[in-house]
Symmetry: C2
């Protein structure tokens, strides 16, 4: 009754044990439900815990049990709507599991990415989710010997390294076919960055749709972007500066579509009346552009959830599974039949 109410540092399990007049193991047992404990002792302990406002030190628990209840997430850009949606899926996937996540950014740079992963490993995360990684599959495999890794955009299938990959080629194909079905034949393409697998695949899908409709792909209509807004705007301007003729443009992602849309606005060209525009990703903001953007929906949120579930399973020694929903065309208001 005369114990100092709030001594010094936070209370330890030992403090609780003393306060309740039991051994530390008993407290631990109650905390973990590891064994039966008599009701009176349990009550005493629970009371002590409440009174002292005790919470087990997770670092000590982690050190002892060899698991940190933490997973690492590697993104490439900490403030991009693209990663956000996936992170939301991860967050939901972690809900109620006791796991927390530490998020680091590779900044689209392979070396930095590898470095960050090493840091996560030193922190003893129980597993890693790698989003749009830049490092090689071999490197991933190497790290996966220390901790399980699930990555987006890869086809890995070992026991501790899993990949979930969307069909970029098919998505791009869908987008361009939509345009063709609307009567467009001169379709410009604002690509993603060079040497990027996703970007290459999207280009391939663009080409296939054109081929299938017996339209020759005009190289002048393909202009390089880098997935950012500004590049979409510049790409669009380049198209105009070189006097290309086209009635539609397919941007390799929504962000560059936003940039393209602004370039069009600046030129006084109406969308979709004069030119149709399609994006890729379906970012949350794409329902609120003016006009709302027709795009290929990528199940970002689901990817986050599914990757998380898979990782958790691997961590628990179960074998993982999970299928991500297919891409789909979302027709909104930036495309219309060519007149």
């Amino acid at each position: 009754m005369a114990d100092h109410p709030s001594p010094a540092g936070p209370s330890t399990l030992m403090d609780v044990a003393r306060q309740a007049g039991v051994s530390p193991s008993t407290v631990s047992r109650i905390l973990n439900g590891t064994a039966k404990v008599s009701d009176d002792k349990r009550e005493a302990v629970l009371a002590a815990i409440a009174k002292m406002n005790f919470a087990p030190n997770q670092m000590a628990q982690g050190l002892k049990k060899g698991r940190s209840l933490t997973i690492g997430i590697v993104v490439q850009d900490i403030s991009s709507p693209f990663f956000d949606e996936t992170l939301r899926g991860v967050d939901d996937g972690l809900k109620g599991t006791g796991y927390a996540s530490v998020i680091v950014s590779g900044h689209w740079n392979a070396d930095e990415e590898a470095e960050r992963i090493r840091l996560l490993l030193a922190r003893k995360v129980d597993g890693i989710i790698l989003l749009s990684g830049r490092i090689s599959d071999e490197t991933v495999l190497g790290f996966s010997s220390q901790r399980p890794i699930v990555s987006t955009g890869r086809a890995l299938q070992t026991r501790t390294a899993l990949g979930f990959k969307i069909n970029n080629e098919y998505g791009a194909y869908l987008a361009v076919r939509h345009l063709i079905e609307l009567g467009h034949r001169r379709i410009a393409f604002i690509s993603g960055p060079a040497n990027n697998m996703d970007a290459d695949e999207r280009l391939a899908g663009y080409r296939r749709a054109l081929e299938e409709a017996n339209i020759d792909a005009d190289p002048h209509l393909i202009v390089e972007g880098n997935y950012h807004e500004a590049s979409g705007m510049m790409a669009m301007n380049r198209l105009f500066d070189t006097h290309q003729q086209f009635t539609a443009v397919f941007a390799a992602n929504d962000l560059s579509a936003y940039g393209a849309r602004l370039a069009l606005y600046r030129k006084g060209i109406r969308v979709p009346d004069d030119i149709s525009l399609v994006g890729f990703d379906d970012l949350p903001g794409s329902s609120y552009t003016t006009p709302p953007l027709t795009t290929i929906r990528q199940p970002l949120y689901d990817i986050g959830r599914i990757a998380t579930h898979a990782l958790l399973r691997v961590i628990n020694g179960e074998d993982a599974q999970g299928e991500i929903p297919p891409l789909e065309l979302i027709v909104r208001e930036t495309t219309r039949r060519v007149r």
Copy 2:
């Protein structure tokens, strides 16, 4: 020379010591630069570390030293451009410090927020950054006895609880004054959620600007939103449904301005030709709306950096400082002089 190349689990400091033929303390000393060590031993140890690919277990280090080199970040929405920008500032602020951050979301709910903070505390984070918290100042003060906390949107000034607050009232005042200077007199306001301090302050700024110009604030022109796009759209529609007359609208944040802009588009009302629109926040996307949005720039990134620096200082026992840059009006293309 015949040691298994990659034994079982990751190597420990003890392994390194054995391999190098020194005591664990020596290895620790080299790792931490805690004391002088002879060159030959140092070399041997360094070689062993490299060979075994050793990295100290941070949980063990943390347990021993009482600091985890981890800070907790509490956001309200893990996928909102608003928090993103601030997170980017935090990330940069942490760069090179050895600190990592675990990000959790309070989902705009005080109870959940408090719960999350408790979890962070159990994880022994060295400090907490609280962004747009919903919990009371008293609650923050309570938690701050365990670990230092810096929070945005509060005026706290104790040694372990700091607040950084922007002047919402002034920002809103700037926005509305801009509109008034352009000749607008019937200015609608799409507010933030009820019972929200920031939202109230922005409303106050709106009123002050009107008063100063001797314009009576018409209550019919004030309609409630909740900071999300959909609410901006609905608010706008409510204005039309009740046949209000106005030439400009000020939305309490950029997201609701996006929604309002879409409602306008749907009605075939031109921006800024028919109606001017101003937002608040200056999210990254606001330079790429159609047309680019006139708004009040909130230094989100700087807030993140400054909050982080302050927290780090407090953690290190230094006293904190830091001033956040003032709000400013960014005139883009959604406002024009009334004809």
